[in-house]
Symmetry: C2
Subunit: 521 residues, 2 copies
Amino acid sequence: MTVRRRRPLYHSHTSPAFTKQRNPEMLVSPSTLNIAKWSRAEFVFEAESDPSHFTQSWVTATFSNGDDQKVVRGFYDDGGRFLLRFMPQSEGIWTFRTESNIASLSGITGSVNCTPAGAEATGPIETDETFHFRTASGKAWYPFGTTAYVWNYQSDAVQEQTLASLAASPFNKIRMCVFPKHYTYNFKEPQRFPFPGNITDGFDFSRFDCAFFHQLENQIDALKDRGIEADLIIFHPYDRWGFAEMDAETDRRYVEYLVARLSSFSNVWWSLANEFDLLRKKPMSFWDGVFKQITADDPYGHLISIHNWHNPPIHYTSNDHWYDQTDPLITHASIQHHDLWFVPGWREQFSKPIVIDECRYEGDVDCGWGNISGRKMLNLTWEGVCAGGYVTHGESYLSDDEIIWWSHGGRLKGESPERIAFLRNILEEGEAKRLSPWKGRSHSQWDVTIGHMGDDYWLLWFGDSQPGFKLLTMLPEGKEFAVEIIDAWAMTVERVTGTWRSGDRLPLPGRPGIALRMTAV
Amino acid sequence: MTVRRRRPLYHSHTSPAFTKQRNPEMLVSPSTLNIAKWSRAEFVFEAESDPSHFTQSWVTATFSNGDDQKVVRGFYDDGGRFLLRFMPQSEGIWTFRTESNIASLSGITGSVNCTPAGAEATGPIETDETFHFRTASGKAWYPFGTTAYVWNYQSDAVQEQTLASLAASPFNKIRMCVFPKHYTYNFKEPQRFPFPGNITDGFDFSRFDCAFFHQLENQIDALKDRGIEADLIIFHPYDRWGFAEMDAETDRRYVEYLVARLSSFSNVWWSLANEFDLLRKKPMSFWDGVFKQITADDPYGHLISIHNWHNPPIHYTSNDHWYDQTDPLITHASIQHHDLWFVPGWREQFSKPIVIDECRYEGDVDCGWGNISGRKMLNLTWEGVCAGGYVTHGESYLSDDEIIWWSHGGRLKGESPERIAFLRNILEEGEAKRLSPWKGRSHSQWDVTIGHMGDDYWLLWFGDSQPGFKLLTMLPEGKEFAVEIIDAWAMTVERVTGTWRSGDRLPLPGRPGIALRMTAV
């Protein structure tokens, strides 16, 4: 594993810097850590080495900075070490005090001096203006995700290649699993698992394999270094090891442990499951419980979602196999669907950001989810964005080495990524984009997805349609617009001569793959 | 108007052949008409010339042939003439006896000798095996419709061109309106209307313009001569003359008159409306009433449907703007929708043939419904057919003369018709096709629409997807299949060497537009 940890971990020990002390206000010790906002402090508390700590022991710390208070859960890292990690979200002195059912770990106090974030630091991603996202630092942020479910389980060489591919790609979020994946093209046995053991001898669900988690943490940090959010899939159904059917207490402890270990990582998102509705033994009430558990345990309020399998397959009027995406604990709807026509409806229905985390992948495998053309992948991405949503990329081209991006990472081979980069740049240049779908006559929009920001910025996507002209009836009266014709495939932007008004008849190329950008002048 | 009436109309007069007679059994007169099954007899009864007949007078006749009995409504054809038309559906002697509120027209008796249909005659189209159609003569029939809403209102030259285009096309059904159309590209004032009058002076809704109906009848016969069903749209919302907002009694009388005049035409289908939900002043109960009225009045049970405007536009879970297509009076669901993914669901939901009468048109006009590519039009047609439904074509290319097929007819310019002919031939060759959508794993069918007849015939459509191979998991165990790779655009059929079994890995071209035909050997 050659992923390097570039971000320093701040270690301190229970002695001598931190002493049992009943009065935390007194405790701004000389050894107070200086740590930039949204970075991670890690405290190491020593105890006897005993695997029963995994199930029997707990330690928490309450961090306070003025009125701001966070209760942070520590966790047992094996070998007699308890770790407790903290990500400060505001500047100033944070004091803390521990509690534990181990006497020596209870009442420990200390402090952290949170200094301003670096100019490049963004902090965690948050939702913004109901349907959109921003960085904690306040900048508009547009998810251009991709998917490589178990890149973290591949050889070091493939992992390095994945990170290099990501760094050169437009993608700023990756969907990835904690558990290994059992599925077509995914039958190699991993070397290490979240629990100690192997498929032959079984797993010890009363412990965790901490080396596995150290590795996962390095991978998440490596993503962070490349500006990529880790949309971490906590459960999934592609399983031969038993991780999809653990007992309720093991599930609970696993979720608790994961959140204790990882919530201090600023680039983590919680995805409760991929295709939760294929985890057939888990009832809806299970997912309700996990949402509550994570929301209670995560002091930082990371983005949290759940991802469906089923489209409405038979009766399009039925959506009872969709998790109730209106649940206020869900920060954004993480949807699988092939038809992005419905994005405006989902916005209205769910009142939160719509992220189509799967709408099929560019590729040529023998699976319905994985053989659309690069043009179709690009078409869907544009359509989703102009409808006021966001679309996650995936790629599944057949390969002799069976390293397929969608699952293993490796090398991107498709035609869509560079063109998705072109679209991302259109969103990122200039003022922050907060696109809403135009609520004009829906019928005329079979051929075009119209996104706009108020009256002054319009982004239209014609997709497969090929109009020979467009009446600019959507524009408000009394304003002049600069109009640019964008060829999304050729990645060209051509300014149309003059300025244009509501109702004007704009000639169009009459071929597929055309977008319009119209900006008030 | 140069459309010629090729089919003879059998005229007889009230005297001397038909006499008032109380005992119809006695009345096989020497002048009994000989008429082939599914042809049309027309009886002319004379009365005083008086326009009040349109509203005040009625005549019906009960036709009997053994136990078979039909009550047929006559109608006033102006100028003192009442007409009564009859289409026998079984061979033998049909006797009839009239009733009327005009004394001289009541109690008239006569007879018709129904002879066998000619070898080419098909009779009316009927539904068959829940989801399909056949001719009354018992042959499988596949709707490959097109749309030219008001071809019947165009100049004689354009009408002739339309009929020539249809004769050379794959289309065997046309959607057309009784009323003229007011809509973009449709602003010319017609010369004649179903009611006497004009837009300046208004219309006399207490009469009908019989010359208009004679012309319409010639047009329907001209379609019949070319093997084309007239899917007659009775109401529509594109109106500046007031036909969309007539009073309830005028609506009722108009429907009654239409059915009386046209139900004896073997190639008529009743389409209650195009985009009924845009006729905003007509409540659902109005349509319920029209279904009941036509079903009661049409002695022959012609196909009858109603066509929606709205897609589920916002909440995809809502379908309350769709007419209840499960109503047993509706023979087939005439649907407008852009996404044929839902065809299998509609089949289950409605349990009747699914005809997508609008899924957008090939063309380049500035309207969402009218600028898809020829490839997309073809893709939709294949998708609908392989899903066990049927798809209606349309074409709307911009034209200097503003003669656009979708509305005016004229000349077909698109790339899809010849390729739709190729598909129609695939259905028509060999045994009757009764395709059902395969109920295998729906998820894997994002890339392919799988139609089949039992175990032995499979037709797969990959559309935009581009798999590099296909595992033939859908085939039943223990059978061998001949496999053909069809390029729907190039219109080629290539037999793959050897025979194939369930689970085999079939190499595919890895490009869009591919179908597979697999037949048990």
